[in-house]
């Protein structure tokens, strides 16, 4: 099958955009020519020395582990809470004001207080990541559950599904596309809070490498870490998107022209 030039162009557009950004960086750095602004090429060349270094790798993996735990706990608690809010006005009117108070507070700003209570170790960082992840997931689960067609739940009730069964077997799958939107935002926020938590409680992790390098004036490492974190974000997002597509294929447009024989 022939692939048109336009298809090739649209398929490789994200890659071209990245290359373009690196190109602009390269030119700007060359024009500026200071130590604190290495060229893109120099930064890229520093990446292998970070990824190849065992200690750095352990740090980065520790970060990812905290992020995964915080994200996991966040999703596991936020989805049921959001669903309950969506299906019960009483729960929603109780929880909503609390969320409104927490919502505008940058979660990293809570870090000093949390450190005071829980120290600078994993628990404090995981808690901050958890807080960052929870809100968008709660919100989207709430919206998704609220939008579930009443008649769909009635149909299930007539089949004999109990209230709990309707919640998990009807409201949950029906709200799943919306829940995934929340999880996707949550994933990015997990990455952000992961780095910021390590910036404040410097002990280990990707954020720690980055800010230590900044202190030591190793600007190549600083920029290389930014590229690595960015790449992690893109990689996680792509992986998540493909999972989402597989699970909520039924809600995707695309085969939007319904068949009809009438």
């Amino acid at each position: 099958m022939m692939i048109s030039a336009r298809a090739v162009l649209s398929r490789s557009a994200p890659l071209l955009a990245c290359l373009g950004l690196l190109g602009v960086w390269q030119v700007a750095a060359l024009a500026h020519n200071t130590d604190s602004f290495p060229t893109a090429w120099e930064a890229i060349l520093t990446i292998p020395s970070i990824v190849g270094d065992k200690e750095s790798l352990v740090n980065i993996l520790a970060s990812l582990r905290r992020m995964a735990i915080g994200f996991g706990i966040g999703v596991l608690l936020a989805v049921p809470l959001g669903l309950m809010m969506g299906r019960s006005r009483a729960v929603a009117s109780f929880v909503n004001p609390l969320l409104m108070i927490i919502y505008p507070v940058p979660k990293a700003a809570l870090m000093p207080i949390i450190m005071l209570w829980l120290g600078v170790g994993d628990v404090a960082k995981i808690l901050v990541i958890f807080l960052g992840v929870s809100l968008p997931v709660i919100y989207h689960s709430f919206q998704g559950a609220k939008a579930v067609e009443e008649k769909m739940l009635w149909s299930a009730a007539a089949m004999g599904l109990s209230a709990t069964q309707r919640m998990f077997r009807i409201a949950l799958p029906a709200a799943l596309p919306e829940i995934f939107t929340g999880c996707r935002t949550g994933l990015v926020l997990a990455l952000i809070t992961m780095i910021t938590s390590e910036m404040i409680a410097r002990q280990s992790g990707a954020g720690n490498i980055l800010f230590n390098a900044l202190d030591l004036g190793e600007y190549g490492t600083v920029y290389a870490m930014i590229i690595i974190v960015g790449a992690l974000g893109i990689g996680l997002d792509i992986a998540f998107e493909s999972l989402r597509r597989k699970l909520v294929k039924w809600s995707e447009p695309g085969f939007d022209i319904p068949v009809d024989f009438a």
């Binding site: 067609e149 008649k151 769909m152 009635w154 149909s155 299930a156 009730a157 007539a158 089949m159 004999g160 599904l161 009807i170 799958p173 029906a174 799943l176 909520v248 039924w250 809600s251 085969f255 939007d256 319904p258 068949v259 009809d260 024989f261 009438a262």
Partner: protein
């Protein structure tokens, strides 16, 4: 037998006003009867159906089935809604099998029964399509099969063909009658189409607008099985249409009363 005994329904509007949707409705529906509830929009006819379904509890009065008061939904009363309300994450087969599986029927058996029902509603070959991939008429066929699959004694149909184009609507009416002729379930059918009500029903309950009251119950004495092509020229059929249209015209005079 379904008995509706002096049922009233009051809704509280957003402005904290009370709105009397149904007022003192009493009605008896015999087993195996096809009964239509006909009325202008906003007469509470769907609410009456939801009360029988157990989805809404009446403010006053009692609805009962087989002598037992209705306290909630149950598989003895299967709803079919205008909005189809299919499970979008399930295929056609998955939707139809949902009820039987819930009732503990083995999946091999449930699948065989469901495939037969899908064929009966004319959707053979579409078992693995998702609701999103189907037209409105096909979705409503799936919804009907899904409800028939758990063998309710009563079908509660809430303007089931209201969202369909005229051609599809006619086809589904004919198919519904054919299916109904086989096992003669009790059907409670809400519609605002006089023609549809007379064509399908044994009994047409004509309602007035807000507050919803029963204006008159008309027995439709047309022989079955009915053929649309014959009925259209039938004088009795035409008489029913004219009479019932007249009743509805009467009630629309007080249309603007809150």
């Amino acid at each position: 037998m379904i008995e509706i005994d002096r049922v009233s329904q009051i809704f509280r509007t957003a402005g904290r006003q009370e709105h009397l949707a149904l007022s003192e409705i009493s009605l008896t529906i015999d087993d195996g009867a096809f009964v239509s509830i006909l009325g202008p929009s906003g007469c509470g006819k769907s609410t009456l159906l939801y009360i029988v379904g157990g989805f809404v509890s009446p403010t006053k009065g009692v609805a009962s089935i087989k002598g037992r008061p209705i306290t909630g939904p149950g598989p003895d009363r299967g709803p079919v809604f205008q909005e189809f309300a299919l499970f979008p994450w399930k295929s056609v087969l998955g939707n139809v099998m949902y009820g039987p599986l819930q009732q503990g029927i083995k999946s091999v058996q449930a699948e065989a029964q469901s495939r037969a029902l899908i064929e009966m509603v004319g959707l053979r070959g579409f078992e693995h399509f998702y609701p999103k991939e189907l037209s409105g008429g096909m979705k409503q066929r799936v919804a009907l099969a899904r409800t028939l699959a758990y063998h309710p004694a009563v079908l509660l149909m809430d303007e089931p063909f209201g969202a369909l184009d005229a051609h599809t609507r006619t086809r589904l009416q004919n198919d519904l009658l054919n299916i109904w002729e086989r096992d003669r379930k009790t059907v409670l059918f809400v519609t605002h189409s006089v023609e549809e009500a007379v064509y399908l029903s044994d009994k047409v309950v004509v309602m007035t607008r807000a507050p919803g009251r029963i204006k008159q119950v008309v027995d439709i004495g047309l022989p079955r099985p009915r053929r649309r092509s014959e009925l259209l020229l039938d004088q009795h059929y035409q008489r029913y249409l004219v009479d019932i249209e007249g009743m509805i015209d009467d009630t629309s005079e007080d249309e603007l009363r809150p």
